[in-house]
């Protein structure tokens, strides 16, 4: 039990802070050669 408690604390600390923000797709408009 003593070992489980710190592990649980770490998980509880990590999970709420876990964010999945990211770009999924970029459709970039481009102009021809300069």
């Amino acid at each position: 039990m003593k070992a489980v408690t710190p592990l649980l604390s770490i998980l509880l600390w990590i999970i709420p802070g876990r964010a999945s923000g990211e770009f999924k797709e970029v459709r970039q408009t481009i102009f021809g050669m300069d």
Binding site: G21, E22, F23, R27, T29, I30
Partner: protein, 133 residues
């Protein structure tokens, strides 16, 4: 340009159509790609990057009385503005997802050429989904 874009870590697939003037880049889950990095590659290949339609997931936040999207993979914050042709969408997003994560289809405005690093980044909201992961 296509080869250079494919080499970027986190890129899943690239389709470049010079006829359509479009580079479509799909990104892998867990990527840390900032579209500015992709634009630099386009620029280095001798092309001029303009605006981009993007699919992006992030946290909807309020900042100085305005709304913004915080993208955790890059740490960037994008000001959110309403698409004049889709009035009410931003208000709806804020209503259902303020402080939460949401997936947005949006227009990422053309960036100022370097060295204008600190210019504000703006996303014009098209549609959103607040539940999809």
């Amino acid at each position: 340009m296509s080869v250079a874009l494919k080499k970027v870590e986190g890129v899943e697939s690239v389709q470049v159509s010079l006829n359509r003037g479009l580079a479509e880049v799909r990104l892998k889950p867990g990527n840390r790609i900032d579209p500015e990095g992709l634009r630099k590659i386009v620029r280095d290949a001798g092309f001029t990057p303009k605006g981009a339609e993007v699919s992006v997931r992030g946290k909807v936040i309020e900042q100085n009385g305005n709304y913004a999207l915080e993208v955790s993979s890059t740490g960037e914050v994008y000001a959110l503005v309403e698409d004049p042709q889709r009035r009410g969408t931003l208000a709806e997003l804020v209503k259902v997802a303020l402080g939460e994560e949401a997936t947005l289809e949006a227009y990422l405005a053309e960036s100022k050429p370097p060295p204008a690093e600190n210019s504000e980044r703006t996303l014009v909201l098209r549609t959103f989904s607040s539940s999809e992961k």
